[in-house]
């Protein structure tokens, strides 16, 4: 009896030993920084020869970021706007493309190659060059019916500004769909063909099959892709809020702490978006199930 429990314990220790690289990494490089950044976001940081000194200042960094800072609220709204409008575009786009790529046709692998390319080449500096510094991401819409139409439906200056931001970032947004397309595709290929055959015998059209079979099957995948998209879009270093956070990092009179406060605000906003999007998707699903 004693020897078995000894064996079990030993085995458990071996398991922990295997698991320890991640565990140590997590404690040291994620958990500790997480707690510490929360602490310094509420503190004033002074760097002295003897080390860093912290004194508690409450919410003052947060208040400054949201109420006094001239550019942070704007940058934050821009980032949230880009993510919130980008999300449905990415989801619908990647779903359509994956449905198309799920068919058998010549050239299929070429298109898979094309739609996965941005995953490989996309990084903050590349996006900065393509979006902000050159016109590479801006589709030319100066002439033609489409632009006339767009100009008609976007009156007012405030709306116009967001609209321009949206159009300028449309291709950039689409570039965030590479992984999602493949994830949808992988799940689509697992759907049992016989379900469609049975539905076809009962006289269902392709449209009906999509809404009744395919979409319910993809429900959890859609949620996963939603979360993935938000994480990905919020992490890219060329994101307006991230640029702002980085620019204040080593500020002389309030090092680290102000950036920490801003990064927590942004992190909370992202988590809120994730929660909201997931809730929305599940709620709709619940209604259909009734």
């Amino acid at each position: 009896m004693r020897s078995t429990s000894h064996l079990v314990r030993r085995r458990r220790m071996t398991g922990l030993a295997f698991f320890s690289p991640w565990l140590v990494g997590f404690l040291l490089l994620t958990l500790f920084p997480l707690v510490y950044s929360l602490v310094i976001s509420f503190s004033e940081v002074r760097i002295k020869v003897s080390g860093t000194e912290l004194s508690f200042v409450g919410l003052s960094h947060y208040r400054y970021a949201l109420l006094q800072d001239a550019s942070f609220p704007t940058k934050l709204m821009e980032s949230i706007f880009l993510i919130a409008t980008g999300l449905p575009i990415v989801l619908v786009f990647s779903l359509i493309i994956s449905l198309l790529l799920n068919q058998e046709f010549p050239g299929r692998s070429f298109y898979r190659l094309v739609f996965f390319l941005p995953v490989i080449i996309m990084s903050g500096p590349v996006l900065t060059q393509l979006v902000n510094e050159t016109d590479a991401m801006k589709l030319r819409l100066d002439s033609g019916i489409l632009s006339q139409y767009l100009r008609m439906i976007s009156p007012g200056r405030g709306q116009g500004r967001l609209f321009i931001l949206f159009m300028d970032n449309l291709v950039r947004t689409l570039w965030f769909s590479g992984i999602q397309i493949l994830v949808f595709l992988a799940v689509l290929q697992k759907i049992d063909r016989s379900m469609y055959e049975a539905a076809a015998i009962d006289g269902a059209t392709g449209w009906e099959m999509f809404w009744r079979i395919t979409l319910p099957y993809l429900r959890s995948t859609i949620v996963i892709n939603t979360i993935y998209t938000i994480v990905e879009m919020g992490a890219v270093s060329s994101d307006p809020t991230n640029v702002k956070i980085m620019s204040h990092l080593l500020e002389v009179n309030r090092p680290f702490s102000y950036s920490a406060a801003m990064s927590w605000i942004y992190a909370l906003a992202q988590l809120l978006l994730m929660g909201l999007a997931t809730l929305l998707l599940f709620k709709r699903e619940g209604r259909r199930a009734q």
């Binding site: 698991f19 991640w22 310094i40 692998s109 898979r112 739609f115 990064s263």
Partner: protein, 310 residues
Amino acid sequence: MKQQIRRAARRFALGTSGRGGFLSKALTYGVLVGMGFVYLYPVLYMVSLSLMNSADLVDSTVVWIPRSISLDGFTKAINALGFWDGLKVSVFLSFSASLFQTISLACSGYGLARFDLPLKKLWFALIVLVFLIPSSVTLIPRYMLFNGYKMVGTIWPALITALGGQGVKSSLFLLVFYQFFSSYPKALDEAAMIDGAGSLRVFIRVAIPMAIPAITVTFLFSFIWFWNETMQLSLLSGASARTLPIRLAAFVDSFNKLYPSNDNTSVGGALNEAIRLAGTLLSILPLMIIYLLLQKTFVQSVERTGIAGE
């Protein structure tokens, strides 16, 4: 006769139950070609403009195809980027970091999957949490931490992050490893144990061969994502790890230092869009070559490992 023709036309356009007809095929190709163009637009734009000389750039009658192919932009961009040095740094850093990350995540995934670890549910929750937290939140304390050990400005922060399995999107890979290591029967381990193999030996001889696809996907994507990661690297490693993307971010400064010009509007030496785009293209060229060579591995590995997350 008329009916037959109509039926044949219908079959041609809409297809039979077995296979799609002409219309659906046309629609598929139409959407794919259109979307593919929009999608590739920036890349095509880059290739086209980077080959133009400054006269073609300002000439509005020149669209897409340059009048004469000029490699001047590339020569200048190679010099301004310090392309070959950057390439060396990028390859070395991405390779070693993804090697470290793959090894440590394989170990951790194995421990999580094959042993009755206490608090297993908590570990999973934390793995997901790591994925959800934006890296900008943990960046500052990491800086202070590494600063305390005098490691800021060396490549160690990147390597240690990789070794701790906390690199870019590492949670995904850990879950992939977990999935692979859970999927084969326990009897295999036990048989090897009875033959007298120790845990490490079982891991290397039995478990690793089962997880080759997981290892491939982890290594390849870690390589790509470490290559493209700049936020933590530029802050923590600074001058010691000037990878190609980081050089690209500082492109304007290094260009102006190398090719000083008195007025920014001059046509000859000044930085123009062609040079910028040549620099951008150069910084992603190595990745594109790797992608073209290993395209099947990339795409299939996502499908096979089911990052889909069921």
